[in-house]
Symmetry: C2
Subunit: 345 residues, 2 copies
């Protein structure tokens, strides 16, 4: 699953900034970004990059298959179209960074179009699973220059109306980092994440998919079942529902087709976390039934939550002593990211 | 489980407001409130009632066994003591409404003290289970005038430092409502809830306990297991954790001893909701493994969450056409509350 390797093509040198040093190569702010899909994530990214008052604005334009979304974006002053072939032809001429920002089921058709109209463009994505996206890219565009991405940001809302240019501020943005990843391509995708206001978290695709199964996809399933059991009890129960139910079920309100695309696209990793969830709940039920105690599940959960709060509350520690491109750089970035560090260049 | 019936003693008429009509009996703002326990719930109630700027301030004083909490409350200008016997002697002289506001394991000793020092006082509580509290009251103070209560409000924090006089504003406050409940006692406890800024939800103890198992206690267990599975995956996973994990695990951060007291005190009802949770997750795992689909669990959860949002977003509909004390009043209040209505007098 390393489409980055199979399809590696050197980035055209002529597009590098003329006045450059080691730092300005990272801040690759001359070349445009072309976003395919203007829903919550893609639309928020368009708005952020297009904002001239943002810390790092970029030339940016987007495509959405729905004319209504395009009309909304255009009316708000953004550069958007519903013509996929033309936007990709433009991206090819610009050597734009092309961002796949549609749900998983819509990706094959988009990648086919990229292979036809903009085969030389660097390709990234903002989809929540990485092994499956890599498989789709490798199948439909085997010569792609592809470095995957995944911003850890979202709400239970979806679509252009829910977009927010601040959605990524301070968020973690995973950038796939394999031993064969081209350093310049990696830096350009990492630059996109930083221009959006996010921290860069390097990871291999499979490690990422296991991680998001545990902290995003599994929580969708526990939220769904918590909501169902609560609402099924009685209207009185929903009348009495307060903070624990409100917060614990929030993501169950996400559009079902978006949840399905995300969860079913990560089925293998999710089966593992779901099985562990069932096993732990079953042990808790047995302990409650046989000994009247919920000590183990409550103590384990409390310790886990406190560890999360420690990590979330602190300024992320930076990855240190590694230059992208030097021997072993990808492995070292992954190693430090596994200690909860982030790449800041 | 109707301690209200077994120990019913008529309220001394001399304490009724002198200038009264049907409305002013409800707004029973002359007699003091004595709160036993000044943690998050009891302390917030003390602060709310004591605020002269509140809509309905009440004479109020409190007890806490920790001298540190008493010192904090006293320093902030509140009337508090660590002397249980003296506060209850005062409550008896005042005909105060005595509020049990300590965790379940601490209740027997408090109820024994009430039976000794203030046996004639009307007694209520703010604990999250009702059958078990009723059993404790019936055992240790069989002649108690007791009407249970449960404000649906809280945070993952605890103790005096977390108190907030606005904690109950707009919250639901369940008041136990059985066929043998004395109407005047019920009105006085309902008045306390309203003075705190809450809506009154009448319910029988067993129906309440089933409801909170479904919408509060079960969510504590799903939050705990979601946190444990997420944190157990890797530090990388916790680094990538975002909104779904943050919100879905929030209540796992509640002090373990408070969670255990609450959940283990409602073991029977919780065993049912926990078993249903396990069954639904197991069906979801089988469907994901065998058919690659999470359609059922996601659709069910989405529908349940939307139903909750409808109820939570709307101004609560009032219970209509029933006067507390008329024939069948308790049954009629419960019937309408089961349609998610609230009592507003």
């Amino acid at each position: 699953m390393q489409a980055t390797v199979a399809g590696f093509t050197p980035s055209p040198k002529s597009y590098r900034p003329v006045m450059c040093d080691a730092e300005s190569v990272v801040h690759d702010n001359a070349r445009p970004v072309c976003i395919l899909g203007l829903g919550l994530i893609g639309g928020s990214l368009l708005r952020r990059l297009a904002d001239p008052a943002a810390a790092e604005p970029r030339p940016v334009y987007g495509y959405n298959r729905s004319p209504g979304t395009v009309a909304d974006a255009t009316a708000a002053g953004y550069d958007a179209t519903a013509d996929l072939a033309s936007v990709l032809t433009r991206a090819a001429a610009d050597d734009a960074l092309v961002v796949l920002a549609a749900p998983l089921p819509a990706l094959p058709a988009l990648v086919v179009a990229v292979a036809e109209h903009a085969p030389g463009c660097l390709l990234t994505d903002v989809v929540s699973v990485k092994e499956e996206v890599g498989r789709i890219v490798a199948e439909h565009h085997p010569r792609a220059r592809y470095v995957g991405g995944h911003p850890m940001a979202g709400t239970a809302e979806s679509g252009w109306a829910a977009t927010d240019p601040e959605l990524f501020t301070g968020a973690m943005w995973m950038v796939t980092t394999h031993d064969g990843t081209d350093p310049d391509d990696w830096l350009r995708v990492a630059d996109l994440a930083r221009a959006a206001g996010a921290y860069v978290v390097p990871a291999a695709a499979d490690a990422h998919d296991r991680a998001v199964a545990a902290i995003s996809h599994n929580p969708h399933l526990t939220a769904a079942v918590t909501a169902t059991v609560g609402a099924g009890e009685s209207e009185l129960a929903l009348r009495l529902a307060a903070g624990s139910f409100r917060d614990g079920t929030r993501v169950a309100g996400t559009a079902p087709q978006l949840q399905r695309a995300m969860l079913e696209g990560n089925a293998n990793a999710l089966l593992n976390t779901l099985s562990e969830t069932i096993d732990r709940l079953t042990a808790a039920r047995d302990a409650l039934r046989d000994h009247g105690s919920v000590e183990v599940i409550v103590d384990d959960g409390h310790r886990a939550r406190r560890r999360y709060q420690q990590i979330a509350a602190a300024e992320p520690a930076p990855i240190e002593n590694v230059r992208v491109g030097e021997a072993g750089w990808a492995q070292e970035l992954r190693r430090q990211a596994h200690q909860a560090r982030v790449w800041v260049g």
